[in-house]
């Protein structure tokens, strides 16, 4: 390969910053989750790239764990959002500030 780990880390860093800024400016719960997936994807790329740098597959094992956690968290968060929508007819997290109900 004629590119280094620094090139890949730059991409990961860029994706992470984009995901984080997208997460911070959204008010819609589903869009926030999507930006969260973007951040997790950036971390995954860096994991696999480090595994390649060291020549072993430990990066892949942690990649699988991250994917598992992302899938579980997405499913549970979307179930919560659906329940929230059922209660309040809105998925804006600004409207979900009261613990009652």
């Amino acid at each position: 390969m004629s590119f280094s780990i620094a090139h890949i880390l730059f991409i990961c860093f860029g994706l992470f910053v984009l995901g984080a800024s997208g997460f911070l400016i959204r008010k819609n719960a589903i869009s926030m989750l999507i930006c969260l997936e973007l951040m997790l994807n950036a971390v995954n790329i860096s994991l696999v790239a480090f595994g390649r740098m060291h020549g072993n597959e430990s990066g892949h094992a942690l990649y699988f764990l991250v994917i598992t956690v992302a899938a579980c968290e997405t499913a549970i968060a979307l179930a919560i959002i659906l329940n929230l929508f059922r209660l309040r007819r809105s998925i804006r997290l600004d409207d979900a500030t009261v613990l009652k109900g």
């Binding site: 280094s4 995901g19 819609n28 930006c35 790329i45 892949h60 994917i67 179930a79 329940n83």
Partner: protein
């Protein structure tokens, strides 16, 4: 400038552009679709690195299941556009300033530790077997078997929790009460 470098730069540019589109489009359905493109570009990057199995798993799990779940929920909710907008305009200045600062720190670190700037190793020792299904499973199922089992338990717990959360409890309706509500 060989072919691998060209492909890498194109993929990197695509990743960053689609990442920006995911983060800053107002409608969630557009974000989800650009996220699919982002994941496919990520998968291509993994193939470029030589991690073939991980590339296929990325498409299978991320692009083919997680984003499908997002698309489902967005289609089900079917909200009108007023409820979905961004909080404010995209804060370009702060993004550029913050990423510029951290990028400069990043580059200084890399100059200080030059081994990070070396080209990625050419996989000479385990040529052709790094990233394949066989060598991955030898590591994942032997060395990290506890992580594998915990991941399984985590998924089982998630299935149970989602089943509990999403179960719609129909409220018992008594005849008199509903008539009152309809009249008043």
């Amino acid at each position: 400038m060989n072919l691998q470098e060209v492909v890498f730069y194109i993929l990197g540019a695509l990743l960053l552009i689609t990442g920006g589109l995911v983060a800053f489009r107002p409608k969630p359905i557009e974000s989800a679709l650009w996220l699919i493109v982002n994941f496919i570009c990520t998968s291509a990057l993994y193939v470029l690195l030589g991690a073939h199995f991980v590339a296929v798993i990325q498409i299978l799990v991320y692009a083919g299941a997680i984003v499908v779940l997002f698309t489902f929920v967005i289609m089900l909710l079917n909200l009108n556009p007023q409820e979905l907008g961004l909080t404010a305009a995209v804060p370009w200045t702060s993004i550029v300033l913050i990423s510029g600062t951290i990028g400069v720190i990043f580059l200084c670190l890399h100059v200080a530790t030059p081994e990070l700037l070396k080209d990625l190793p050419a996989l000479a020792e385990n040529a052709g077997t790094w990233g394949t299904l066989e060598s991955f499973s030898k590591v994942f199922l032997v060395k990290y078997v506890w992580s594998f089992e915990i991941a399984g338990v985590l998924l089982l717990m998630a299935v149970l929790v989602v089943g509990l959360l999403a179960h719609h409890h129909p409220k018992a309706v008594t005849a008199g009460k509903s008539l009152e509500k309809d009249i008043s």
